[in-house]
């Protein structure tokens, strides 16, 4: 249980008021709290909720540059700009995140292989730093602070505003194809031939072993062209608006998600999909945010909750590390229910930003307690050995030593951070755990 003092500024001046009330116990910005681990938590300190600092300050329809405050959410951007032909340049799998959080975790989306991360579409950050000074940093002014803030998990200060470049679109539709992939090799083949698609991701069955290891459904799409969407009527049967409009009303019983039910679900999901491929025009909502319509989807895991594990490993040879990871998971019997796999592109932002060139695998596990933590330790070992890392935005447990091997740039990052925040004003539970704040450890 974490206890913190919480401030919720609605006016800019109230951020400074909250900052003025700091008392040495640490301070941290908190957006919409969609990070899974302890990144946005600060036990015993002062948490500043930024969600209500959500004014859009300027927009240039010629270029797509939007200036907005840190509490603006992806959902706000979609609501305002999709009707005007613009889309967030990068979006995670939920629209309930703030742009401040998107920058703090340097989030990636299905278009990483072409567009990189959130920060690759940002040209500046206005940051309240530990001295109380508001610094606008970009790639020329205070570039080190800019780089450290990108993916900096809120530990360089409180982001107040930023300029983000929106992507022009013709309509809200995604021209989407889904392809049944039979195994891991097939996944890489399909991935390689999907270069023409700006958005790719594959659901992967984590229960199958041997020949069928890595089977799944590969989804690839791009924003539809103007002429692809005629008048709505004619499209009727093409359009897949099938929102899984279910809500999980209560905490599911703990037996709901056991190995057998996962196996059944995976089998059904895979079978339901025709061999070969299927082309549809899909609304952006179910394409990007399948989980957002299932309110409280995480309750299917019951009261025990669940843990996320997202890794990236460089792509190499026959991808032995990836196979070893999948093998360890199937052997453990703690099959992951929602597992997705994607190839990242070459864009890597350094510091604590997660994506490096390679393959990323995101896994949800029902919280099996100690055996699951043991499994994750084993996965860590495979990942570190392969030169990979886990995503801090979804982590609550990696050890300091392991983290340092995963993110060899941590020391350079911390040096910049310490220079801007020598007394450790900005802290988080994650920062304390990983030795990113405070003196030498």
């Amino acid at each position: 249980m974490t206890r913190s003092q919480v401030a919720r500024p609605e006016r800019r001046a109230e951020v400074f008021e909250a900052f003025g009330e700091r008392d040495g116990s640490g301070m941290l910005a908190h957006g919409l709290g969609r990070s899974y681990g302890d990144a946005a938590l600060l036990d015993g300190g002062k948490v500043v909720l930024t969600r209500r600092l959500d004014r859009m300050l300027d927009f240039d329809p010629e270029t797509g540059w939007l200036r907005c405050e840190a509490g603006v959410s992806i959902e706000d951007i979609l609501e305002t700009f999709v009707p005007r032909g613009f889309f967030p340049p990068v979006t995670p799998g939920t629209k309930f995140v703030t742009v401040g959080g998107a920058l703090g975790c340097d989030v990636h989306g299905k278009n990483h292989h072409v567009d990189g991360c959130w920060s690759n579409h940002i040209r500046n950050v206005e940051l309240l730093t530990a001295s109380g000074e508001v610094v606008t940093c970009d790639r020329e002014q205070e570039p080190e602070l800019f780089d450290a803030t990108v993916g900096g998990m809120g530990l360089t200060g409180i982001t107040l505003a930023m300029d983000v470049k929106l992507t022009p679109i013709h309509n809200p539709w995604i021209a989407m194809e889904s392809v049944r992939v039979e195994n891991l090799d097939h996944f890489f083949e399909v991935s390689a031939e999907s270069g023409g698609f700006t958005h790719t991701v594959s659901w992967i069955d984590c229960v199958k072993r041997g020949q069928a290891m890595g089977r799944g459904i590969f989804m690839r799409g791009r924003h539809a062209d103007a002429d692809e969407v005629g008048h709505a009527g004619a499209l009727g049967k093409l359009i897949d608006v099938a929102h899984p409009l279910l809500a999980v009303p209560l905490d599911g019983p703990n037996w709901l998600l056991n190995n057998a039910s996962i196996r059944l679900f995976n089998e059904a999901y895979f079978r339901k999909h025709p061999k070969g491929q299927k082309n549809v025009l899909q609304h952006y909502d179910p394409f990007f945010y399948p989980l957002d319509v299932v309110r409280d989807w995480n309750k299917i895991y019951g009261k025990r909750g669940f843990l996320q594990y997202q890794l990236v490993v460089p792509k190499e040879g026959d991808n032995a590390p990836l196979r070893a990871v999948l093998d360890a998971i199937t052997k453990s019997g703690m099959g992951s229910f929602l597992a997705v796999i994607k190839e990242f592109g070459d864009i890597s932002n350094g510091g604590l930003s997660f994506p490096i060139p390679g393959v990323t695998l995101a896994l949800d596990f029902a919280n099996y307690g100690a055996p699951l933590l043991d499994l994750m330790e084993r996965l860590d070992a495979i990942v570190v050995e392969a030169g990979g890392r886990v995503y801090l935005g979804k982590d609550a447990r990696v050890s300091r030593a392991t983290f340092r091997r995963m993110y060899p740039e941590w020391e350079a990052w911390k040096a910049v951070r310490d220079q801007w925040d020598p007394s450790g004003v900005f802290q988080s539970d994650l920062g304390r755990r990983l030795g990113l704040v405070g003196g030498a450890a």
Binding site: R12, A13, R55, L57
Partner: protein, 244 residues
């Protein structure tokens, strides 16, 4: 078409501004902190494309109100609608030792509000059209030990609006009184209550919809009408012993 929002830094007021802007009104955004008002105006412009102008407004600077209204109408055109959203609960100590603080609460919530209404009503009455919305509180429905200075000012404002409505009805001007219950804003942040709390956006939607229907007195959330109905019927003899 134009609307003026007074006390626009309130999140309810800002959402109200957006609703009217979405209908195509030019918007004047007034607050004590002009830089903050400018950010809100920018947001309205980006989101709706209407003309939104920011300006300084202080409820207690009453001498300035008539000239301010003239300036506003010069900037965004004759007002079709004005929303008085400002309010201040003050920070009165339990023993009320500081009447200056109490007087300020009365001035912001009542005297300043009435002063501004007079300045706006003149033009609306001349034009024979307009909607004037005053944001009050259920706290104005009965005096209670915990907040009767604020409550009496809001209550006085409600009475004032009642009379104004009666007068301006004959001139084609609609006056709406809004009595808010709990809304999740800066004013109620940290409050612990079992009573459901509305979001500022819900409150704004309700105010917008009610104004269109020319509602006289809006309670929001609506169940507060019933709660206050009951509270008002408790005999004073018993009420004075309670600590609500």
């Amino acid at each position: 078409m134009s609307v003026a929002i007074f006390g626009a830094t309130s999140r309810i007021a800002r959402a109200v501004a957006l609703r009217w802007a979405e209908d195509g009104h030019a918007v004047w955004i007034g607050a004590r902190d002009v830089a903050e008002a400018e950010r809100i105006a920018a947001d309205v412009r980006v989101k709706t494309g209407v003309n939104a102008v920011a300006g300084a407004f202080d409820a207690v600077d009453m001498d300035a109100h008539p000239a301010l209204v003239a300036d506003i109408e010069a900037a965004v055109g004759p007002l079709d609608c004005a929303v008085l959203a400002f309010g201040d609960m003050g920070e009165l100590d339990e023993d009320h030792t500081d009447f200056a603080a109490a007087r300020r609460v009365i001035d912001v919530n009542f005297t300043g509000a009435a002063s501004l209404c007079e300045a706006i009503a003149t033009g609306m009455a001349e034009r024979g059209a307009g909607t004037l919305i005053g944001v009050g509180s259920v706290a104005g429905d009965r005096g209670r030990q915990s907040n009767y200075v604020y409550g009496s000012a809001k209550g006085a404002f409600a009475l004032y609006l009642q009379g104004l409505r009666n007068r301006l009805f004959k001139r084609g001007v609609h006056v709406m009184t809004v009595k808010l219950g709990f809304v999740d804003t800066r004013m109620t942040w940290g409050l612990k209550t079992r009573i459901p709390v509305a979001t500022p956006e819900q409150a704004a939607d309700a105010i917008h919809a009610a104004a269109k229907r020319k509602v006289d007195t809006l309670y929001y959330p609506p169940f507060w009408r019933a709660i206050m109905g009951v509270i008002k019927t408790i005999p004073e003899r018993a009420f004075k012993r309670l600590s609500l």
